[in-house]
Symmetry: C2
Subunit: 446 residues, 2 copies
């Protein structure tokens, strides 16, 4: 898609995931218009992202080569019915709603002939750094699946590294009733229960099995999300009633069995559930083991790095900090950055050392260098020497001179050695020359 | 504790965690007796672990310097009442039951004067490799906390690397009602619900958000456990009724709110739960982010290692395999071990490369070596040369000779270079000599 020519209108693009796409697509070179009801907020987003703002949905829909509906679920159908008839022929209408049957039907019923409809559900939230490795579900009808627009959208998403899944709207909502509906319902109920029972969460974690720790972190994550979005995800899926009822009935049945101390009854329920899971039960053991293990083994690795040079990268923003690991306190690591201490939440960062650290330094820090000329016997193979020195230094050969000015039987090799500060380079030069004189070389005095 | 003199009797030590402790303590040098009702199984365990078996609980209780009750929860009280009076004065009575109020009371009420009682709850299962980093809860009364036995048990566990927590039995059961009771109840109910709704688990994972994936893995893990143990953990905690009722009521309340499309009501519940969690909500985001990130970044690292030498360690058994990473397929990595291919479940292993791989090879593989004597100028600092060579080889200096037999102005340095096969050593020697002659050295011909 030639980005610079296309205008994308994001209806509801002043907030949430709509705003995320506004920023993302503007950075990809598209011309972006956002709409919203709050004019002050709209003008602020205009400045912040360098996009155009209007509070007139219909006007924006008329202008867009691509029109994306990104309003809250509870007003999505209304807004679609309002703007869909105004999308120009040959253009593309999309949405990013977490449910698909209702918006898909509304879009298809209300567009002009010649407008392509590609409903989407991006399975991530506005804190995600990019489309890389994110799941995006597309639910176009058969007719629109064959369109040029579909190919363009599909290829764009794949190029951005997203994992694209194409299914029909009904199947989507059925699966999402479980993947999102049941999941959110169970964890929000658990969160409310812990509050009702007045459980001291932090205290309980001291006695935590790793699974309890994982459960608490998932509950914490979910209940901290946008409650209006989560309310709508429950309320706009027609299948949620059956899901709630089935879950509550299972809970009641098991509770009754426990009350009656019906051991065999309890065992039967667990075994039947395990049988239904089949190989997924064992996979669950491994996957959760691995998640837990990854966290604990990382704390161990960190402990071994105290006093050593590391790089710390924020796993959301990707910003990197270099320094020496001073200490670890609870969830925090303390980094010494040239005498200044900075605290980082271990849970928010990735830590690099050794070779990976060196790669990052090369990539992100400005390298300085010194050039040192030394003499070696003419018959020496300088590649062999360079290979050996590369194990200790960031080093290249930039010149070899075998002329009159050089002592007989010798050649002059000029090495370029890299470092990250004048002080580091002074030490490097000292060390380098000490090695040179012990491996048959001598300093060249100019 | 002088292990070789002490006899530990494990009542119910032919199975489950009791058998785990029988093996563990036998390996630590204790004299171990196990009891069980199944004589055939008992004799088999006798052979397998090198312990003594009897099906007479009272006899075992009389013999033990330390007596540990390790029978299923539903018979624990009965067995304690049976054997506790027979524990000799000056000895120690313990248990490893997942609930603590009932066994603690039963032990304290039925022992002779002069018998120490230290009830325990080891927070791990029989698949755990060792006590290292595992949580062990002790619930002795104030009187027994002051005993010599308590100090010995506490110090032993700490020395083994366990995380020891000391609280009273009532507080333990209260917290475990949540940490184990509520957790298991919620996830088993979820597992039963997914079965009732006939959800294709594997299919659903294709549309999974990372949180759903985590939830599914926890459900799978829990429903695959020993159902009788899990039944008893529910049935023998007097607080479980209140916990079940509160959870079910929260589910019903939220379901009703959703049915009535009461958006503000839903938002209120989520916000109140979030408020109760406080900073634990944010921590939950980071912790679950980290767990998810750890898994995905590992797959990325693995992809970069295709074609390279790696070590693969099973995270439960700790067995290590060396080879070249051939390919990655779904959850499996394919290792080339000297021409033979072996598949490993990525979720079950830890992968090492680079320096860590070298450390492991040194530790686990039998090293072979060659000794090579070379000549260097007398004034050369061999430490500098060794340091440099160490970056390329696993190498030491084993001899330096400056005598008559050596060419004038030179000294002979004998290097020992390690490798893992004759073929590898041949290549190493060639490479080594090539480097030596380029850094001012020469081969010494004997």
């Amino acid at each position: 898609m030639k980005n610079t020519n296309l205008t994308i209108s994001i209806i509801g693009g002043t907030d949430g995931l709509g705003k995320w796409f506004a920023r993302y697509l503007k950075n990809k070179g598209f011309n972006v218009i956002v709409t919203g009801r709050d004019i002050e907020k709209g003008k602020s987003v205009e400045k912040e992202l360098g996009v155009e703002f209007t509070n007139n949905n219909i006007e924006a829909a008329k202008k867009g080569d691509i029109v994306i509906v990104a309003v809250p679920i509870n007003v999505t159908e209304r807004v679609i019915r309002e703007i869909a008839p105004h999308v120009r022929e040959g253009c593309l209408l999309m949405d990013i709603t977490s449910i698909k049957e209702i918006p898909t039907r509304a879009m298809e019923e209300n567009v002009k002939e010649g407008v392509t409809v590609i409903p989407t559900h991006p399975m991530f939230g506005p804190s995600t750094p990019s489309l890389l490795r994110q799941v995006v579900i597309l639910t176009p009808s058969e007719k629109h699946k064959k369109s040029e627009w579909f190919k363009k959208v599909y290829n764009f998403l794949k190029k951005e590294g997203a994992k694209v899944i194409v299914i029909d709207a009904e199947k989507h909502d059925k699966i999402m009733g479980i993947v999102q509906g049941l999941t959110h319902f169970a964890f929000i109920s658990l969160g409310a229960t812990l509050k009702e029972l007045n459980v001291d969460i932090k205290e309980s974690r001291k006695f935590a099995s790793p699974i309890y720790e994982l459960m608490i972190s998932i509950i914490g994550r979910i209940i901290g999300q946008n409650p209006y979005l989560y309310a709508d995800i429950q309320m706009f899926n027609p299948r949620i009633k059956e899901i709630h009822e089935t879950f509550i009935n299972q809970c009641k049945e098991i509770s009754e069995i426990v009350k009656n101390k019906d051991r065999e009854g309890f065992v039967k329920i667990m075994k039947e559930a395990a049988k239904h899971f089949g190989s997924e039960a064992k996979r669950g053991v491994h996957y959760s083991d691995k998640a837990i293990f990854a966290l604990t083994s990382e704390i161990e690795k960190l402990n071994k790095l105290i006093g050593k040079e590391i790089a710390v990268k924020n796993i959301n923003s990707n910003i990197i900090h270099f320094g020496v690991l001073k200490d670890i306190e609870d969830d925090y690591l303390i980094l010494d950055k040239n005498g200044k201490e900075q605290k980082f939440n271990i849970l928010k960062v990735e830590v690099f050392s050794g070779d990976e650290l060196n790669e990052l330094k090369k990539k992100h820090l400005e390298r300085k260098y010194i050039d040192v000329s030394v003499l070696f016997k003419k018959d020496v193979n300088e590649e062999v020497i360079l290979n050996l020195l590369k194990k200790m230094f960031d080093i290249e050969i930039i010149d070899i001179y075998e002329g009159d000015k050089i002592e007989n039987g010798y050649k002059s090799i000029t090495f370029r050695i890299y470092g990250y500060s004048k002080e580091e380079l002074k030490n490097i030069e000292k060390e380098f020359l000490n090695i040179i004189k012990n491996i048959g070389g001598k300093e060249r005095f100019k």
